[in-house]
């Protein structure tokens, strides 16, 4: 995409991977992927050793590659999650009690140094976050649009499911609106590389995007009510239950995580 950010995954590209490619992960049942996401969230929350977290992250990276997805894009998409990690774990790397790595930096506030414990913590938090980020992207890029829509309809309570379904449908439309606005401004010599001198331009473009959203919603109301809408978009599509071997993997992964946590972390004796 020429006009928008490379650091945020473009839903159109994500959907295109899901719709047009075919890899081993595309053939995995969508519920299985949701189940694995849950297990991974649990795992990164309870696992307490860097080696284990790094191993898990490595495994997810391999799965991402096996799914036929591009690593180079992934690196770009890591920018924001990494920024979040740095902003939380960065200061902790200095503050965490422990042995300093190398020498200390003296500052007016006292000595400042990265400790080994701080460094390990940084590594752990990075692995935790990127493991789930990578798998969430893997799942999104290998699950068909209609399956995602069906699961949204099943997982969210009314009316949130209705809102989410419309959001999913109109994100693409709104992206194009925003992109068209940026393109048109660029073609008349607008400069987006500096914010402060162009703040009004940013405001107008974002304002027009919002306005277009609101006016589309006004038209949408008419068209939905014209077909008798009463607060219920039900989807008749279906995502079948996972096959038994996949179910086994999902259940197995929860058992492994919970078992590990029980034994290694909470000291439960069998």
């Amino acid at each position: 995409m020429t006009t928008l950010s490379n650091h945020v995954p473009d839903p159109r590209l994500i959907t295109a991977f899901a719709e047009r490619r075919d890899g081993p992960l595309h053939r995995v049942n969508p519920w299985t992927k949701v189940g694995v996401v849950g297990a991974l969230v649990l795992a990164v929350t309870v696992f307490d050793r860097l080696a284990l977290l790094a191993g898990l992250y490595g495994a997810v990276l391999v799965v991402y590659g096996l799914a036929g997805l591009p690593y180079r894009r992934l690196a770009g998409w890591y920018t924001l999650p990494m920024l979040f990690i740095v902003s939380v774990a960065g200061p902790l790397a200095f503050l965490e009690p422990g042995t300093p790595v190398g020498g200390a930096l003296s500052t007016p506030l006292g000595e400042l140094s990265v400790t080994w414990a701080g460094l390990v913590l940084f590594g752990e938090l990075s692995c935790r976050s990127l493991t789930v980020v990578t798998f969430a992207l893997t799942a999104s890029m290998t699950t068909k649009y209609t399956d995602v829509a069906y699961m949204l309809g099943r997982l969210l309570p009314r009316p949130i499911d209705q809102i989410a379904l419309l959001t999913y449908r109109f994100t693409f439309v709104m992206l194009e609106t925003l992109e068209d606005l940026v393109k048109a401004a660029l073609s008349r010599g607008a400069n987006f590389s500096e914010f402060w001198s162009n703040k009004r331009l940013y405001a107008r473009i974002l304002g027009m995007t919002m306005l277009s959203a609101i006016e589309q919603s006004e038209r949408l109301v008419k068209s939905m009510e014209a077909r008798g809408y009463n607060g219920d978009i039900t989807l008749y599509g279906d995502v079948s239950r996972p096959p038994i071997h996949e179910l086994f993997i999902v259940v197995g992964s929860y058992v492994a995580v919970v078992g590990y946590a029980a034994v290694a972390i909470y000291g439960v004796r069998l």
Binding site: Y145, T146, S223, M224, E225, G228, I233
Partner: protein
Amino acid sequence: MSRDDSPLVELQCEAHTYPDGTVGMHDVDFSVYPDEVVALVGGNGAGKSTLLEHLNATLVPDDGELVVDGTSITEDNKAHARREVGFVFQDADTQLVAPTVLDDVMFGLQNYGVPGDEARARAREALATVDASHLEDRIPHYLSGGEKRLVGLAGVLVLEPSVVVLDEPLAGLDPERSMLVAERIEQVHEEDISVVLSTHDLEFAAEVADRVCVMADGNVVGSGTPREAFYDDALLTEANLRPPSSVRVARDAGLGSTEQPVTEADLVALLTEADNLGLTQTPSPDGRGHD
């Protein structure tokens, strides 16, 4: 079309004023009869969409009445107007709300409580009617403009309305896709559904309509058959419209003052007739125009 039939839809509207104070339409008296195709023609902003949106109670007159199938429509029975009068909006994107084409066509049925299996069967049938069965599993976002229009039409036909309203059905379509949509509209008409459409393409209106209503400044300023309307200079001038191409050509070339061609086919027929009488200048070398 017989005017002895009672109308399917009758709209009387003293005025419709938008929230910002603009008068969208005034003093309109408009009926739709069984088994006719009515084209509303007029320039941008003449009030065509405003009138159409009154026909299924999407808009409600400030002062006036909508009667659908003999029933006067009030706040409580709008649903009746919406079932009987199907509406295909101009903005194809906001017409399609569900994640897949099939879901979208089923949308209306499911709002009226039709069970899933029956709804699915009827939706498939409606898609087949507009020759769009192959689109069933597609994502609306990836459809072309013409495909969106057809799916929108199927989503309305599935509700088995007695009138279908289409707001600018050819907007944004190339000639090939326009023809396709026009053919589907003809087909809807053949199934005994009345059609009301708005267009500023007078050629198209001349092709499809039994009756043309000319709008200007929020008012119906005249109506009649396409031939009556499109040879009425005063009327077209009032509505700021140019007659269709065939009318202009026939006139400018001093042809057909009696036959009054309005469609391209009329014009060709007129010229061919002249040709058969040996009157035109150049014989056709490839045999075209003689069959």
